[in-house]
Symmetry: C2
Subunit: 223 residues, 2 copies
DNA sequence: GTCTATACATGGATAGAC
DNA sequence: GTCTATCCATGTATAGAC
């Protein structure tokens, strides 16, 4: 994904050139959207190793040069994808998790989100971006924000679930939230390889039963 | 990572050419080992997106053409890396998990394995291979075997832990084992991005406490 | 803002010398 | 079995026309 670097680096971008990122202005906004979508599609079907300005352009029937005009380089575009997806995800999770008050509900929301994200293919995109982030600090930074927001939201929901419960002071909520977020990621990666769609479904069904049990125990231990 | 494919495909490899895989014979065995090591190092420091025959050669001070002579193509070499690492991992896990009889021991083994694998960098390699596997069925196949073996070993250990326990008939061992394996993977990916080494340590410490508690409950519920 | 054309670099893969 | 040299495909990035 990288060749040379005869770019003048991060100069101040004097006047009309190299809008390192979206100029925020009106015109070309549609093209930028199409570039984002194309990059996502490319990431999804070719993987991070198959991404290039030309490959992205193909996926959106766009001109290869537009990547450089609007984002300076392929990586700039990928960073933008990471940011946008992070925001969308944060909003989705915030909405879904807002009403969660029991473990069973948390599991149900987890399944719903997983199914929706898997169907949309956005977890594939995320895992590919994460793999790419390993060798690109800037991309890593762009992805990291989204992960942190994710973990925080799960943490808050967990806090609500366990509030006024004997477990509240025992269970390390931050750790568990981190584990849950990691588990989500791992499930996607595993699923991408073994192609076993029923596995995750079975897992969630098991968690349904277990969470209902724990909820009952919690209610009896509190009240 | 791919350009053209003017390779005669998987012909029968008449006589002296294109030993699609390691000829198993003596000579050149050392070179093959060095190629494997170089590929691993390359995967680790450049990521799947930065892997190429030339990049691999650089990492091992080898000649680029050797990749094609010994493995037919870059992907063949990566598949070999996946297989070898899978075998090593399966052996390590089998040894470590053999003595596990309680949840606390399982957690302790989990921490030890995670630390060892993280220190060695082999989880980074695995996650990069997994990302690459998404767009390469053959590589996916090579990686999948290792994951399955992994899950199976955890499953067997869990079975032993819960044997003669009220939970044995309630807990879906296969699902939990799959979740544990996924969690391992996810933790590595997360860690690669947020660079927070203490997080996982903290998580394992929490799990130590929880597992000890559950073990006590199990023992009192059985005996 | 978008396109075509083009420079230059890198990578896959092979032939042939050693 | 390993190396050098080489061909050709692909990719990055820019210049300049529209």
């Amino acid at each position: 994904m990288s060749a040379q670097a005869q770019h003048p680096e991060a100069s101040v971008a004097t006047t009309p050139k190299a809008p390192r990122r979206a100029p925020a202005s009106d015109a070309g906004a549609d093209t930028r959207d199409r570039l984002i979508d194309a990059a996502r599609a490319c990431l999804q079907s070719e993987g991070i190793a198959g991404v290039s300005a030309r490959a992205i352009a193909r996926h959106g029937d766009l001109n290869q040069a537009l990547v450089f005009y609007h984002y300076g380089a392929v990586e700039g575009l990928l960073q933008e994808v990471a940011r946008i997806d992070s925001d969308r995800r944060a909003q989705l999770y915030a909405t879904e998790l807002a009403a969660v008050a029991t473990l069973a509900e948390l599991v149900a929301v987890g399944r719903r989100i997983h199914d929706a994200e898997a169907a949309r293919g956005s977890t594939v995109v995320l895992s590919q971006l994460l793999a790419g982030a390993h060798s690109s600090p800037a991309l890593g930074e762009a992805v990291h924000g989204g992960m942190a927001a994710w973990t925080t939201l799960v943490e808050q929901a967990l806090g609500r679930v366990l509030a006024n419960t004997p477990l509240a002071s025992v269970v390390p909520i931050g750790d568990i939230a981190y584990a849950i977020a990691s588990l989500f990621l791992g499930l996607e990666l595993m699923g991408g390889v073994d192609g076993d769609l029923e596995r995750v479904d079975s897992l969630f069904t098991s968690l349904d039963a277990v969470s209902a049990l724990v909820d009952a125990l919690l209610r009896s231990g509190t009240a």
